[in-house]
């Protein structure tokens, strides 16, 4: 059981505090409720580019990293489709350095053209390093627009193309900041070696005077129900093996359905005793790697099969084998042991994730973002409530052909 306090300041900032005396550090985790799903279709990749600019100086801070390092801290950030998360881990005695830095950049940035130009270039290199110069790196650049036609999940956080990043202007940066970077659009979570009430008092001190943005954020258009199967074949990739991806629309992270789908994916592919591993890697040897997993997005997401074929496998045969596994899943009984195993694994996974104070801090912020912070202590119950009947009903509607997008990612045949 993880103890925490949750307070909303007058300016709308949500503050979560959790004490863990097993570490000499504290983690200051600031989550902004903005991700690539909040971008315009002609300016994609912007939320992530903006994350880089958050390290380029704020009103009273010329060099963010320098102060973090001087205080013995370490910081980083990541952007997803749904959110942008910044964190500092720092010796507990220096927590105010972290709060000063985070509050200053929530209050106002230095908007410099030079910083923007350099970070655009850095992000373009990141685009190349991770998505283009990397085998299978561009799969999601192809798969997202196949699975989504309307919702902004149709582009990845890095953006649709380097050109979008290159055309970002300083005006875009300012507008984005004023709209999304404000206490009423943020969650701060403090975890580690500090008493909860003391942490709250310090957050109040450093963040209490930052005015809210009170932005009215436009609704994100939801993805219409898919009514026909979609397929895409991408040929002549510089990869040693063909790959196949089959994705199905499922419900959002905060839904009951999510837990059922997660269990389905675990029965299929979590561990070397799972069905896909035994049938497709060990017995038929059609695949060298295969995985089934859920995306866990805050809007309705995807259930994903991804597999790499062994050299001798024909892509048609590989796809039929996945479909056969799905049919078997719907047709045949799920054993109580399979369900028990998944529940045990989930319990263990949750226990392991509670070892680290920084993990706990970011998990608390994430569950608050989803709208139910108590999930930090109740998620394993959600899994336990899932029955074999739930699994069958959900799987039947999930794995419909017309709900599926398939990508064949084929190697260069020469």
């Amino acid at each position: 059981m993880i103890h925490f306090t949750r307070t909303i300041l007058d300016n709308g900032l949500t503050v979560i505090c959790h004490t863990d005396h097993s570490t000499p550090f504290v983690s200051v985790n600031v989550l902004y409720k903005v991700g690539s799903r909040n971008e315009q279709p002609d300016k994609t990749g912007f939320a992530h580019l903006f994350e880089h600019l958050m390290f380029s100086g704020s009103t009273h801070v010329d060099d963010y990293d320098r102060y973090v390092q001087l205080a013995g801290g370490d910081s980083n950030a990541y952007t997803t489709n749904d959110l942008t998360n910044y964190y500092i881990t720092i010796p507990a005695a220096n927590i105010e350095t972290a709060l000063w830095l985070e509050s200053d950049r929530m209050g106002g940035l230095r908007f410099s053209q030079q910083a923007l130009d350099v970070q655009k270039q850095v992000v373009v290199e990141e685009f190349k390093q991770r998505y283009l110069n990397n085998p299978y790196g561009d799969v999601w650049l192809k798969l997202r627009p196949l699975a989504y036609k309307v919702h902004p999940y149709r582009w990845p956080t890095i953006g649709k193309s380097p050109e979008h990043i290159e055309k970002a202007t300083l005006e875009d940066v300012k507008a984005f900041f004023h709209r999304f970077y404000a206490p009423d659009n943020a969650i701060i979570s403090i975890s580690g070696n500090i008493e909860e009430n003391q942490a709250l008092a310090l957050v109040r001190k450093w963040f209490g005077d930052i005015p809210p943005a009170q932005s009215s954020l436009p609704l994100i258009s939801s993805e219409p129900r898919q009514t026909a199967e979609r397929r895409l074949v991408v040929e002549e990739n510089n990869v040693p093996a063909d790959a196949i991806y089959k994705v199905y629309h499922m419900d959002k992270r905060a839904s009951e359905d999510f837990y059922i789908c997660d269990i389905i994916s675990d029965i299929l592919s979590n561990g070397q005793s799972s069905r896909l591993y035994i049938d497709l890697i060990k017995n038929s040897r059609l695949f060298s790697a295969i995985d089934a997993y859920v995306s866990g997005d805050s809007d309705p997401g995807l259930f994903i099969f991804s597999g790499k074929l062994t050299e001798m496998t024909d892509i048609h045969v590989a796809e039929e084998a996945i479909e056969e596994e799905i049919e078997k899943f719907l047709r045949e009984a799920i054993t109580p042991r399979e369900v028990e195993k998944v529940i045990n694994k989930t319990d263990a996974r949750i226990s392991y994730s509670e070892i680290n104070y920084q993990n706990k801090g970011s998990n608390l912020a994430f569950f608050e973002f989803l709208g139910d912070i108590d999930l930090i202590n109740t998620e394993n119950q959600r899994y336990r409530q899932v029955t074999v009947d739930h699994i069958k009903t959900t799987a039947t509607s999930l794995f419909k052909k017309e709900n599926c997008s398939t990508l064949w990612y084929l190697r260069n045949k020469q």
Partner: protein
């Protein structure tokens, strides 16, 4: 919602920074079983899980031909005299435990993380894997086929090609430290060779078991019962010493057509953990490329935007060491990047580091070392490595002191001693 008086904090001044504490080292205990197996553990009663590492003297250095050591350790969960691979996987999955296998240059490891409530079951299976592995051919064949494919994916990456070339140059193509793997090696692995290696270095070899987390009586008794009953272990037979055959320093290129970026590796021999310059060199390396605010990052990423990242690091190995700068850049910036790297090195050889920067990096490094020792799991990992050098985590107390005492003059001296331009290997992989 209650109304609170709004405070306007003074943001014009950075809050005062407290000096950093020395690490709080957790006590470890050790004992040896009658059969020679050494147990080292750190107990933290607040945990409900434990981690166990079984460390064998069974790394790449001892293998008769490529891939044997990594294959032998990875085959441990692929079948024993009493359990098939599927049954072993099912047991660990059922109890929510994770196993992992690592093969290093000298050591090979089997790791387990498990909930305490299933300690008896998971530990017993671990012991069985060590004692009764049968290296079944079907599983071996699948393992090698899939590893070969992973290898082929790696060879598509310029970063992998540059690293491979760099190691071959530094240690010599055939030295185990270079660990050069070729596609044809995968088809030449022979089951009998793997099994012999397993018998000699894993089953009959001497191992050390590190346990951390909730190491209660039940865990200890189970370990003693399961591992104490194994046959007597023998000190690992000395492998013949392999001599190093470094190539001449200079510029080397690996062509990779159609690559979007080039990977650069620049480096040479580094400094070993037990050498007196280790602490100073660690500090020097951090200034150049060992943290986010380093000189290389500031210049090549934050000023010029040539790369998403550039870093440098020093690796200490039992019989050697290396130091290396690594980055991926846009093809057109390759030459400019190399030039800037040497400029930054020369700068450290000719101009003393300003006191403000020196203080900052010392603090950063101190914080980083505290982080390396944060919590029982981190301390156990740190201790595991130090024991290989006959040291323990008190090493850090000394290291932090030495770093504190290091002066700008010391750094100038070290930069000149270790970073002679004519000793550097410069490797690029990509389009020439």
């Amino acid at each position: 919602m209650t109304n609170h008086n709004i405070i306007h904090p003074d943001r014009t001044q950075a809050p005062a920074v407290a000096s950093l504490s020395i690490p709080d080292l957790l006590a470890y205990r050790q004992f040896t079983l009658p059969n020679g197996i050494e147990i080292v553990y750190i107990h933290d009663p607040a945990q409900e899980v434990f981690k166990m590492d079984i460390i064998f003297e069974a790394g790449v250095y001892h293998q008769p031909c490529p891939l044997i050591a990594s294959t032998a350790i990875n085959m441990l969960n692929e079948g024993t005299r009493h359990h098939t691979a599927d049954a072993i996987a099912d047991l660990f999955d059922y109890y929510g435990a994770y196993t992992d296998f690592n093969c290093g240059l000298h050591k090979a490891e089997l790791n387990l993380i498990s909930l305490n409530k299933y300690a008896r079951e998971t530990i017993a299976m671990l012991a069985e894997m060590v004692e009764e592995s049968i290296v079944p051919s079907h599983e071996l064949d699948i393992y090698l086929t899939n590893k070969r494919q992973e290898f082929l994916v790696q060879t598509e990456k310029t970063a992998y090609l540059a690293r491979k070339k760099f190691c071959a140059l530094l240690f010599g193509e055939t030295h185990p430290y270079a660990n050069q793997i070729h596609e044809e090696d995968f088809s030449q692995v022979d089951r009998a060779t793997v099994e012999n290696f397993y018998r000699r270095y894993i089953r009959n070899g001497r191992c050390r078991i590190m346990i951390c987390g909730q190491v209660n009586d039940e865990v200890l008794q189970t370990v003693v019962r399961c591992f104490g009953s194994l046959g007597a272990s023998h000190p690992t037979p000395e492998s013949s010493l392999h001599s190093f055959h470094p190539a001449s320093a200079g510029r080397y290129h690996v062509e990779k057509k159609d690559s979007v970026q080039s990977s650069i590796r620049i480096g040479k021999k580094g400094v070993q953990l037990q050498e007196k310059d280790y602490a100073g060199f660690m500090l020097l390396n951090t200034i150049l490329g060992g943290y986010f605010g380093s000189r290389l990052m500031s210049n090549i990423r934050e000023e010029k935007g040539y790369t998403y990242g550039i870093s440098s690091y020093n690796v200490s190995m039992p019989l050697n060491s290396y130091w290396c700068i690594t980055t991926d850049v846009n093809n057109e910036y390759t030459e400019a990047t190399i030039e800037e790297i040497f400029k930054e090195i020369r700068q450290l050889q000719t101009h003393p580091v300003a006191s403000e920067e020196l203080a900052l990096v010392k603090n950063f490094l101190h914080g980083d070392l505290l982080r390396e020792l944060d919590g029982v799991f981190a301390q156990s990992d740190a201790l595991k490595q130090k024991l290989n050098y006959g040291l323990d985590n008190r090493f850090y107390l000394d290291l932090i002191q030495r770093i504190k005492q290091c002066s700008a003059e010391d750094l100038l001296y070290l930069a000149n001693k270790y970073w002679k331009a004519e000793e550097m290997y410069v490797v690029t992989a990509g389009i020439s």
